[in-house]
């Protein structure tokens, strides 16, 4: 009973705060068609300049941007784009699927099976987000 009342009060409070926010939603579709790897600073001088895809550290930082403001990503990318790499269950490496896109930062290029024995020792933390709870069925083939 107490929990229900607590949830109801919280819901009313949040509804009030939402009603007072009065902000415009981010556009669902980017007003200009963007091709290739965008350099956001060409048009933006606000916070979106940080999303420039051409910088060498964008691949490293994109997880933070997505975790803070995914609606901004969604103006150009649909869910289908994200699951190319962030898959629930997958049998083809992204770098095998798109060999005709050599410019993309696709993980595990080349013979990664040999290289993962080294990188898995050096930084196994980088494996966990994609293979700790998702996409881990093939690991069992060798890792009993």
């Amino acid at each position: 009973m107490k929990k229900t009342a607590y949830v109801m009060v919280m819901g009313i409070m949040l509804s009030f705060l939402y009603a007072c926010a009065n902000t415009n939603s981010i556009a669902r579709v980017h007003p200009e068609e963007v091709k290739g790897l965008p350099r956001c600073a060409e048009c933006h001088n606000d916070q979106w300049t940080a999303l420039s895809h051409q910088t060498q550290d964008f691949y490293l930082k994109h997880k933070i941007y997505a975790a803070q403001q995914r609606d901004a990503c969604n103006t150009c990318h649909k869910e289908s784009f994200c699951v190319r790499c962030h898959a629930h269950k997958e049998e083809i490496k992204p770098s095998d699927k798109y060999k005709d896109r050599p410019e993309l930062s696709l993980p595990h290029r080349g013979d990664y099976l040999s290289r993962h024995r080294v990188e898995g020792r050096i930084n196994p933390a980088s494996c966990l987000k994609c293979h700790g709870r998702q996409n881990n069925e093939r690991c069992k083939t060798c890792h009993k």
């Binding site: 939402y18 490293l60 005709d100 290029r109 930084n123």
Partner: protein, 434 residues
């Protein structure tokens, strides 16, 4: 906690939710839309045939179909949309995996997004990325702007995990509260909890930040705390400095406590009990990179990362990359990287060179990737792959690409792989890239 028998159920909760979402979404989009201009229905299909030999000289011809569909209607005060995507595989030759046929629903959810306040409500299988959460769930997700620059997000559902060895839980919930001044910063606090029969098996809290105090400086990062082990899982921060349009300097710092970070996974591969992940290990990674656009067509970058451990020996990873492009459809790149671990088995040189040229609707790509190990990996000190790919755009929506990949690896002396991909995009209206 170990699952001795893998349980299979006729219809997982996620599948039921996905089907319900499809039916509800289709009815809303087809019956409920008031204006044809406000409706967008589109999708993409990728049909892929792989051709390769298995380790037992078996001939593998798995045929895949990847299908993504999105339908939206924005006639009202917000947009109702349905997104669903998945894949299926059938083996035309010998068995390539455990089963001759396989498939997966990667995502399938119904979404409502208001025109005001960035209010979003999603129901179904989806990928939630909010602060400490990078989770795929079968459930409900809510997000909204609040008064005074605050935003709130919450989610609850069933964790859509692959349980190869350990239980991944039957309930997951969490949320994030953040304050943002759009031009200067965004600071968030977040938490998640996963339960099995009411017992918490994951409890994580964290802070995430994006700081933009001056135009040239951008700091991103997060710290994550494990309540069950009472220790910090990870601190990861990156600072980027852009003094000119052509120059971009970046520095990063990462600290991982293995006992807290690898506390609850569903695969034995990354578990704390497999002897591979040392529970008492702590890793520090300090690194940096410099990117320089010498001209509009030439980009150069250099990176360096140093890894330091409590138990294992340290390592350095460094390298240089160069990219070149012309307005005539030619692009090329080359890179060299060195992994310098504590012994020969953890050291290698990595070389890559690629080039691609467009010829109107056609394109041709060559990609060479070579790794030279200081020690041997299964008796092999050098592995490489040489790929040649060709593509042809029949229209904006239809593309055929094929590639041949010659590989010398630790498992094969001379392996030849092939792949043919037919990509087709379809639909009416314009709603982002598939």
């Amino acid at each position: 906690m170990k699952i001795k028998e893998r349980k299979t159920t006729p219809a997982p909760p996620g599948a039921r939710k996905a089907v319900a979402s499809i039916l509800l979404g289709c009815s809303l989009v087809i019956l409920g839309h008031q204006s044809a201009d406000a409706t967008a229905i589109n999708g993409s299909s990728e049909t892929i045939l792989r051709m390769r030999e298995g380790v037992f000289d078996d001939h593998l011809f798995p045929l895949y179909e990847y299908l993504n569909l999105a339908a939206s209607d924005s006639a009202g005060p917000g947009t109702i949309s349905l997104e669903i995507g998945g894949w299926g595989r059938v083996d035309l030759g010998d068995r390539s995996f455990e089963h001759r046929t396989e498939g997966d629903v990667q995502y399938g959810f119904l979404s409502y997004r208001a025109n005001r306040g960035n209010f979003t409500a999603n129901a179904g299988r989806q990928w939630v990325v909010e602060g400490v959460a990078t989770e795929r769930i079968d459930g409900l997700y809510l997000r909204t702007d609040l008064l005074g620059g605050f935003t709130a997000a919450a989610y609850v559902g069933n964790p859509a995990v692959i349980q190869t060895d350990f239980n991944g839980g039957d309930l997951i919930y969490g949320g994030r509260l953040a304050h943002t001044m759009p031009k200067y910063y965004s600071l968030g606090i977040s938490a998640l909890r996963t339960e099995t029969s009411g017992e918490g098996i994951r409890e994580e809290e964290g802070v995430d930040l994006w700081l933009h105090p001056v135009a040239m400086l951008d700091v991103t990062g997060r710290s994550t705390y494990n309540s069950l082990t009472r220790g910090w899982m990870e601190h990861a921060y990156t600072a980027s400095f852009t003094p000119t349009d052509a120059l971009h300097v970046s520095a990063s710092l990462q600290n991982v406590h293995y006992e807290d970070y690898f506390y609850q996974v569903t695969t034995n591969t990354l578990s704390l009990t497999n002897g591979f992940i040392a529970p008492g290990e702590e890793m520090w990674n300090v690194g940096g990179s410099v990117g320089f656009n010498a001209t509009k067509n030439i980009g150069l970058s250099a990176e360096y990362n140093h890894y330091e451990y409590d138990l294992a020996g340290g390592a350095d990873y460094y390298g240089v990359t160069g990219n070149f492009g012309t307005t005539t459809g030619f692009a090329a790149g080359a890179s060299f990287h060195r992994m310098d671990g504590s012994n020969d088995r953890l050291r290698y040189n990595q070389y890559r060179a690629w080039a691609t040229q467009k010829f109107g609707p056609a394109d041709l790509t060559l990609d060479f990737f070579d790794v030279d190990f200081d020690g041997s990996i299964s008796g092999r000190e050098n592995t490489f792959s040489l790929a040649a790919a060709a593509g042809y755009d029949f229209s904006r929506n239809l593309r055929v690409a094929a590639d041949v990949d010659y590989i010398r690896s630790a498992d094969f002396d001379n392996e030849l792989r092939g792949l043919i991909r037919l990509s087709y995009a379809f639909g009416v209206g314009k709603e982002g890239k598939q």
